[in-house]
């Protein structure tokens, strides 16, 4: 009896010990990373979390062993972990005693680490009093170097565990807590199983899924989070009657950590927006028509009300018709308003279509919350959002190339760089001293006469080309060929469309461009041209030219690598990325070389002031992301998207099914590159000075990581990936140094645990739609299919 018990205990203790060593190693790893020094407030909870997780893991075997058994196990876990960490700390302690600089070996371990872990103040730690030079003895009466391994329960020096009054000081105290954490993990699981919380959770999920009210609640999470954000932000109010301006404290005062918490809430708004839109099913029908209408109108009204209050109250001038505004800023405002209006209209329309309501609800709430969010964030926070947004654009572009078409492109940053430099060349105000001592701009820079002309010419060309091409294509209708070749289908899938063929389209386009040049020169002669276009925003021109440049270079890169696949493709594209960077570094006369291009203007007229600067950036990025995400989603379900998907799966078979590989690949490269170009233009506008070093290989790798971690081929996945890899590290700035390492660890973990990514693309469900289409088709054909 006793013997079996002992054997059982030993067996279980072995498992506990093994887990304990793992926990210990992880904690040592975290110490080496410098977590205790850099993130003092979360270090201890993090260590405890590790112990807790492993405790819970142990407790998975609750069914096989009894609870007593597992508690023994947890004890072993805590002890083993503590022992390992203790040994490590003892080693460091020993070294420090011998005046070995631990820093030389473990970069992030400093005397402070010991202080934080042991609770002994740094001044007492290693500050031995000077020895007597003759005898070599320490002076009497003075305290010697403290052994940081002392057992203290001193609440003064202890490591604080959150804010609650649980303070256990000293290193041993910390170890005791570690053991407790392991035990707690086991107890938690035991408690869960006793209370049958698992069933409750299941029931809750079922309730959330089936109850229309609960489901709508889930869909409304973004506005709810927005309300939370609103509560934490102080509001300015302006009383027109008295002309006074006063600020009101936030309702929830977060003090020093407000900045981070608000950013995290901002991320939550975006994430839950994505989740809500995805959770909405077209078959959802629950609430009555009136309730739905009221809910929709309610959200719109409250959101717009809050926004207006903020805008008018704080006098951001964001929507005000201040004279300082103009150019692209007005355009971004108008676009924002247009989106809001369209949304409202679509909602009302959506109400009429049964079953669309929930999607509409989720969409409205999410989009409005995201659109209003920047008004409630400060400059720094909006800057983070801008960076995340630019990375989302890059991610979405790469997602087309890698996620949709399966072409591994490691030189993706080249297109980003091209976009950025295009805008920089067009707009930079940088002056340099020429050979004759007179100031000249960079060649091609914004103050170059030719560029200014070009800037005016591009919009004209765009407009005239579009008009002429449209008319040309309308008027020139292709007649069906008189003689049908035998393989031409008698019963084409889609009725004959009469569009001109490829070469004719090209001819029409060339004619249109020539015509537009003619129009432009005529305009210029009359002076009308100057009046119309001399004030064209360089940003608009930049974004058009940047996109076109990247698009063309995407095709240019695509042509030589058409035959390459997998690793070879990755290596060649990687080389391409480096070549572009080196070109920008070395063509000093044109690009400014390593000194970069400076003084790139914001997409604003000169006089704009106040919050407009950063707000315009973040809104432009939001609009850009919106457009690109929308394009990505539409492409995915299109003929082109299916071709990419087939090509990704098997190139040879796709070709044999009838897919033109060259066309498909080049389209993917071109569109992906164009998205990166848009990102690049916005990046240049945000940075204001760009250097070749901004476009290193790291950027490509970072973007690839966020696509993989978020979920290849999934638009919400890419957004989530950007938040996880770019946004969250911005919040936890202190750990910046380890970002690349954390990337690596995350990538490996994702590939093992969740290879499809955080928010993978769902399996396309088209059957219902196909069936109803087929039925109506059947009816139309009079029963003959």
């Amino acid at each position: 009896m006793l013997q079996t018990r002992t054997r059982q205990f030993v067996a279980s203790a072995r498992e506990g010990t093994l887990s304990g060593f793992t926990v210990g190693l992880i904690i040592i790893f975290l110490i080496l990373l410098g977590v205790p020094v850099n993130l003092t407030s979360i270090a201890l909870p993090l260590f405890l979390l590790v112990a807790l997780i492993f405790g819970v893991r142990l407790a998975r075997r609750l069914r096989e062993h009894g609870i007593g058994h597992l508690l023994g196990n947890a004890l072993a876990l805590g002890l083993a972990a503590a022992l390992l960490v203790f040994l490590f700390m003892a080693l460091i302690n020993r070294w420090q005693e011998r005046n070995i600089k631990v820093n030389d070996y473990f970069y992030s371990v400093s005397p402070q680490t010991m202080t934080v872990l042991s609770g002994v103040p740094a001044s007492e730690l290693f500050a031995n009093p000077a020895r007597d030079p003759l005898t070599g003895a320490y002076p009497e009466g003075k305290p010697l170097r403290t052994n940081p391994m002392r057992l203290t329960f001193d609440s003064e020096t202890g490591l604080e565990l959150v804010d609650i009054n649980l303070v256990i000081g000293g290193f041993y105290g910390f170890l005791i807590v570690l053991i407790l954490a392991g035990l707690l993990g086991v107890l938690l699981v035991w408690g869960f199983s006793v209370a049958r919380l698992g069933d409750t959770w299941k029931r809750t999920r079922a309730y959330l899924a089936t109850s229309p009210q609960a489901h709508s609640g889930l869909l409304l999470l973004p506005p709810v989070f927005f309300a939370l954000l609103w509560l934490t932000v102080g509001h300015g109010t302006y009383r027109a009657a008295t002309g006074t301006y006063s600020t009101i404290n936030p309702i929830i005062n977060l003090g020093g950590s407000a900045q981070e918490v608000q950013l995290l809430i901002g991320f939550a708004i975006i994430l839950f927006g994505l989740v809500a839109v995805r959770a909405a099913r077209p078959t959802d029908v629950g609430l009555s028509y009136r309730a739905r209408l009221a809910l929709c109108l309610g959200i719109i009204a409250v959101m717009i009300g809050l926004g207006l209050w903020r805008i008018i109250g704080s006098r951001t001038y964001f929507l005000a018709t201040s004279k300082a505004l103009g150019g692209s800023e007005t355009i971004s405002i108008v676009l924002t308003l247009a989106v809001g209006a369209l949304l409202a209209v679509q909602n009302i329309v959506g109400l009429r279509t049964p079953g669309r309501f929930e999607t509409q609800l989720a969409g409205t709430g999410a989009i409005l919350a995201v659109l209003l969010m920047p008004l409630y964030l400060n400059q720094g926070q909006n800057d983070v959002m801008t960076i995340v947004g630019i990375n989302v654009m890059l991610g979405l572009g790469l997602n087309i190339v890698v996620g949709y078409a399966g072409l591994l492109d490691l030189g993706y940053v080249a297109f980003f760089a091209l976009g950025a430099y295009s805008y920089a060349f067009l707009s930079s105000n940088q002056m340099a001293l020429g050979a004759d001592g007179k100031p000249t701009g960079l060649k091609f820079a914004g103050n170059d006469e030719m560029v200014i002309k070009l800037a005016g010419w591009v919009p004209t060309t765009m407009i005239v080309t579009l008009v002429v091409a449209y008319l040309g294509i309308r008027i020139w209708r292709r007649r069906p060929p008189a003689v049908r070749r035998p393989w031409e289908r008698q019963r084409p899938l889609v009725a004959y469309s009469g569009r001109p063929g490829g070469s004719m389209t090209a001819l029409i386009t060339v004619t249109a461009i020539l015509l537009s040049a003619l129009v432009a020169s005529l305009f210029e002669g009359t002076g009308l041209y100057d009046r119309l276009f001399s004030k064209a925003s360089p940003f608009l021109v930049g974004i058009i030219i940047g996109t076109i440049m990247s698009l063309l270079s995407g095709i240019a890169l695509g042509i030589p690598v058409l035959r390459l696949r997998g690793d070879y493709l990755a290596i060649v594209t990687l080389g391409f990325g480096e070549i572009i960077r080196l070109l920008f570094t070395n063509l000093r006369d044109y690009t400014g070389g390593p000194q970069g291009v400076l003084e790139i203007p914001r997409p604003l007229p000169a006089g704009a002031t106040g919050g407009v600067g950063y707000l315009s950036m973040v809104y432009l990025v939001l609009i850009g992301v919106g457009v690109i995400a929308f394009f990505s989603l539409r492409l995915k379900g299109s003929r082109t998207g299916r071709a990419w998907s087939a090509m990704k799966s098997d190139e040879a078979i796709a070709q044999s099914v009838g897919i033109h590989l060259v066309q498909s690949k080049l389209t993917a490269f071109a569109i992906g590159a164009a998205f990166a170009g848009i990102g690049g233009v916005l990046f240049a506008a945000r940075q204001r000075n760009i250097y070749p070093n901004d476009f290193r290989l790291d950027v490509s790798i970072e973007v690839l990581s966020l696509v993989i971690i978020g979920g290849m081929g999934s638009v919400p996945g890419v957004i989530m990936g950007a938040i996880a890899l770019i946004g969250v590290p911005e919040v936890l700035r202190q750990l910046e140094t380890y970002r690349i390492m954390v990337f690596g660890a995350l990538l490996v973990a994702m590939v093992i645990l969740r290879p499809e990514g955080l928010l993978p693309a769902p399996v396309v469900q088209l059957r219902e739609r196909a069936r109803s289409l087929a039925q109506s088709h059947y009816r139309r054909e009079g029963g003959e299919v």
Partner: protein, 274 residues
């Protein structure tokens, strides 16, 4: 339907003359002549490694034969890319099933419709009329094909999750989606049980009769070949050793020798038919 068959009746659907494909020293297909008339079911048989699949690969554009000529509805097709061949109206299936993984059953068939469509990415972005019409037509067409193949119920399942027999049928549905004149089937009954084989046979006949198709098939199951073929071609070591009606081929001593490696008179001639 009738006008299309009219136009073609005068000439063969596929006419191969002297097609030769070598891999190094190995002659995989040697000097092969083959003519298939419209609305026929023609079979190519032969022992393993006889060059049947290689011949299919030559037709569908994966390989370019070193010598010889292939005409499809009177026009030469050698040297065309696989996608061009498919666009002209030759679709095929594979000996080892090759479906697009990560795509649903319906999507797989929709990819097959690709060559008949014209819309561009810009059309998809702006949902231009042509794009919308084409998308709806594609969906309808794909669904009807799945319905025809008895796969409509599993439309939204990932193709690779289907059972083996359904995967074979799906591959045929994908091939049919491009609305071909000539369908090349590489061992459609491989790995099927007798009942499934029976269904497949029935189904190939239906394809020919209802969909106005010409079928060229490779098959090892003699039961299938002898039952449904209008014309049988026998290959051995890349060369044609016999051609004719199933009855004729069945009795050809050369064929029997190729298959059994013995002189014809020692073998029961009915062996092949069972």
């Amino acid at each position: 339907m009738t006008d299309r068959s009219h136009a073609r009746e005068t000439q063969p659907v596929l006419q191969a003359t002297g097609v030769t494909k070598r891999f190094g020293g190995l002659v995989a297909v040697g000097d092969l002549d083959l003519t298939i008339m419209p609305n026929q079911i023609a079979s190519v048989i032969g022992p393993n490694g006889a060059g049947k699949t290689t011949f299919f690969n030559c037709i569908s554009g994966f390989y370019t034969p070193e010598e010889g000529e292939m005409r499809f509805l009177g026009h030469p097709i050698q040297g065309l890319r696989p996608d061009q061949v498919t666009a002209r109206g030759i679709a095929r299936t594979y000996q080892n099933i090759h479906l697009f993984k990560g795509m649903t059953v319906l999507e797989n068939v929709m990819v097959g419709v690709h060559p008949s469509l014209r819309s561009t990415p810009l059309g998809a972005l702006l949902r231009l009329p042509l794009n919308n019409i084409e998308e709806d037509a594609t969906l309808t067409h794909a669904y009807e094909l799945l319905d025809f193949m008895g796969l409509a119920d599993v439309s939204d399942v990932l193709a690779t999750n289907l059972p083996y027999g359904s995967q074979r049928r799906l591959e045929i549905a994908r091939a049919l989606a491009s609305d071909p004149h000539l369908l090349l089937l590489d061992e459609p009954a491989a790995g099927m049980n007798p009942q499934e084989t029976e269904e497949t046979m029935h189904f190939i006949r239906r394809l020919r009769d209802e969909r106005d198709l010409t079928v060229l098939l490779i098959e090892h199951d003699m039961n299938v070949v002898m039952n449904i073929s209008d014309q049988v071609t026998v290959l051995d070591y890349g060369r044609k050793i016999s051609e004719g009606t199933p009855e004729y081929v069945q009795r050809d001593p050369l064929v029997i020798e190729a298959y059994l490696g013995t002189a014809a008179d020692e073998v029961d001639v009915n062996l092949l038919a069972t």
